[in-house]
Subunit: 312 residues, 4 copies
Amino acid sequence: MAITDAQRLELAEAKAGRSETLRPTVPALEAMLFEPIPVLDHGFVRVIDYMGDDGAVVQAARVSYGRGTKAVTEDRGLIRYLMRHWHSTPFEMCEIKFHVKLPIFVARQWIRHRMANVNEYSARYSLMDREFYIPAPEQLAAQSVVNRQGRGAVLDGADAAHVLDLLRRDANQTYDHYEDMLNEAPDGTPRDPARQGLARELARMNLTLNTYTQWYWKADLHNLLGFLRLRADSHAQYEIRVYAEAMMGVVEAWVPAVAEAFRDYRLGAVTFSAQMLDITRRLLAGEAVQQRGSGLSPREWRELMQTLGREA
Amino acid sequence: MAITDAQRLELAEAKAGRSETLRPTVPALEAMLFEPIPVLDHGFVRVIDYMGDDGAVVQAARVSYGRGTKAVTEDRGLIRYLMRHWHSTPFEMCEIKFHVKLPIFVARQWIRHRMANVNEYSARYSLMDREFYIPAPEQLAAQSVVNRQGRGAVLDGADAAHVLDLLRRDANQTYDHYEDMLNEAPDGTPRDPARQGLARELARMNLTLNTYTQWYWKADLHNLLGFLRLRADSHAQYEIRVYAEAMMGVVEAWVPAVAEAFRDYRLGAVTFSAQMLDITRRLLAGEAVQQRGSGLSPREWRELMQTLGREA
Amino acid sequence: MAITDAQRLELAEAKAGRSETLRPTVPALEAMLFEPIPVLDHGFVRVIDYMGDDGAVVQAARVSYGRGTKAVTEDRGLIRYLMRHWHSTPFEMCEIKFHVKLPIFVARQWIRHRMANVNEYSARYSLMDREFYIPAPEQLAAQSVVNRQGRGAVLDGADAAHVLDLLRRDANQTYDHYEDMLNEAPDGTPRDPARQGLARELARMNLTLNTYTQWYWKADLHNLLGFLRLRADSHAQYEIRVYAEAMMGVVEAWVPAVAEAFRDYRLGAVTFSAQMLDITRRLLAGEAVQQRGSGLSPREWRELMQTLGREA
Amino acid sequence: MAITDAQRLELAEAKAGRSETLRPTVPALEAMLFEPIPVLDHGFVRVIDYMGDDGAVVQAARVSYGRGTKAVTEDRGLIRYLMRHWHSTPFEMCEIKFHVKLPIFVARQWIRHRMANVNEYSARYSLMDREFYIPAPEQLAAQSVVNRQGRGAVLDGADAAHVLDLLRRDANQTYDHYEDMLNEAPDGTPRDPARQGLARELARMNLTLNTYTQWYWKADLHNLLGFLRLRADSHAQYEIRVYAEAMMGVVEAWVPAVAEAFRDYRLGAVTFSAQMLDITRRLLAGEAVQQRGSGLSPREWRELMQTLGREA
């Protein structure tokens, strides 16, 4: 587990530091606080802090509806209603902060979700650790031939071994040279007193994209769900999907009613265009609809038939 | 105090609901939780929830600086450094949620701060209360003659009485007619069974801008400070400034080191342009600089001399 | 048409000011530039400036896909693909700026769309005009009994006349008193020299929520479509929906391929939850599914049957 | 110049495509459109599109001030006033879109400016080019000893040569192995038919952080100035500062009055805390103030004396 000694100390102190609070508290999430959930070979996700619970979503929805909400008496039903009808602001009333260790190429995808607060470890200021993501052999897949942005079959043993050897060798060599350029001993003195060390902000450029970085990442529940919807999806790259799945487990402990509604109305949901809906209605009415003349392209038709569980 | 019975009940329940938590907890803020701080004649601000403390700002700054922060050992000094050098992301690691009751014309200014989460009471869905902001006589000021966007001298007694009479009369009359158009008794049945009531989403348009509304408003500490910098400023309209001042008191209880740095480097600070700095240096060196030839407009010169405590 | 003389002059100047440009230009939108599209009784929407076209969306998508896009040769197909699969960033590459005149209660809904740039007419600084939204009689509807946030049947003649009379009378009276409190002649001198005028920032609070305001509103195409999806929807309040419909007409002139994809995949689309999809598949397979035992609440079942064109 | 043939073709077509427009047009910026401005060894910045000009800032400010702006008749003065008093929304009325080629480690800093629209070249979908940033020898500097986040003296010849050799060797070797893992000929067929190629989304992780990427980056003028304020600053890393400086040149061609005000009130400006201002006033009044007892830390005192042009 790639958590530093300093962080381990901090963790121990934090877990010793129980306080009383009047704030909404979620025992199932308290039990997970600070503990790293392992992801990939050296990464992790851990919850550092949180605000709100299922009740905070309901509380916000009820201020909007004011006196008028007598009719909706049940919290779970209200949360499902909000999710089904794409209400967003009540979900913004909950907030969560994670500490994440992740490869740089994953961080580059992740950071595109802009509506979050981030403090990343600075390689201008500090030294990077010798830690790289090396995929497990069963994750080494060929380029997909049907999807330019995906993976196909897993590489066979010899091809996989070749790739792993290259990845390990290059990561270690570039890190060796990173250290060589820095010329800096752990105590900050030069390794080789006859040479000048290169500035950290420059030397870092020699590292490969599978080097691990870490950050604090904080978002409201609405934006977290937006992240999970895209990144816990089967089309997301495996290396970010495993982080999303670990975070989905956190959401289930934290806000179980929201998590259930999210699974039903987002993760497992499909959107039908006006044309697709019309075709579905006609099929239900017993009409024999064909792709030709349906208004759908062959690709859209194929997608629809798969969705409806029919032979295309 | 314009807090409903339902909210009072909620408050009592919340205060009874102590839990244990591992999260950072601020006793001085816990003592303020849920309690309305009165603002204006019927408004209030109260803290509903919070995340983080001074330590969370430091923690985030230290992950950025990683191993390199051994040098900066003192938290207060680090927070002052971050504030002085306009770092923003560490302050985003704290979050706070308020429940606010405020006049609509104040809400219209407030909502322009976009980087916040808001759930407002819906007048499409629910009935508005008969509550209006009527200024205290000492707040009834004439239009400023030097500043088109400000107030001048306080109105004298007769003029003030005239204004107050108009404000009270119109607010009550438009509210009477709002109720008349709705034709709705408290139990939802028609007041006059012979007439149809107008939809709430339409009837509300007859209310005046001093009618009170309420919302949950949640922001991170960086954006909250941005709000306070503009709205706790002496140029802000009095009616929003009093809310900002109440919230500034909350910030002082919550994150005292951040509040102190904010007072020094933001609220009490002035920005000198390149030209203003050059003139200041020359004055310090004993040179007799005049507006003419200084590169400053007469207006800028006047502002600079006031800032430097000199006769213009 | 509630456009000022100054704006009319500006409009005439703008239309005289043809220039050559290398930027993407859309003749159909050029033909609409600056011209107010009337909305409600005194409002309008007009396009002030724009950036990009359908081609800019395609250009951005292709930089993402780089050399890999040889396969997708047709722009319309690519735009439909992006819309269908919820890609957002290519649509952010287009930008549009509107000048809008609208009642304050509509502005209060509209401003909740945060991802936009806004400059609103300031009633702290300037005088408001005597212009109010008074609904057409066929828009005066009763409160809906099935939907707490909607309208039911149109009021009959006598009830409508009563409402219109109240709205007109109160708007004019509160405006009269606004002027009285300001005590300001058009040339800025006091109307009654014996009295002090109230500051503008205070007097405005006496105006009703149907008073017209105006603003410049600028957004990227992705966020504009997000606005239209919610506000051109049949559940939106009529008074904001008519603005959205006017802007939808602008989008059709500006980016016709995007507008078509948006109509098909957003405006006319429905989202099926996992359970709803499963029921649809079983119905298509000939199974006799009932609400009881379906996993759907009676309300969700009713919504699904309506969507599928079946008797509930 | 690292612009592809396809882009060169697009550029030629774009420059041939003059149209007439009614939109505000800036001839000085039109002359720069599409042309790459070289930055670093293989990078560039080029303007793809823009919206608005100095006049658009003024137009937006005047709608806010409405009838009240008769007093401020001069556009340049109004723009300087807006900048001096930290008004932001009028500057949001202008928008610009750049196409940028830049090393990945620079892109990682740049993307932290969240309020922008970005479409980046996708290495999941497409092949990366064999292009790396190799610093010019005079940019190879030692780690600063006074500033943990900066550069000190330039490396001497032998040390620089050693660093350059490592950077070049590692970048080329990791790229060789990237190609080896992909096992993909330019026409998409396997190089070695006996081996499976690794998926692009995986192979990319072997590249070093000085590999070039490219993106479209679009922002409003307010956020662009925020970027330039931090990144055109002398404390910014050289490799991003040169991009900021190229973009500052664009701003000067595009909105000269805004650029001038920005230089005076932001780039060349300093902020004085309440304590620093008090000390400055006392020095001007002839008092002999010392660090001890001033309320400033030794570090802040040293910074202030430097700012005021005094011996510390």
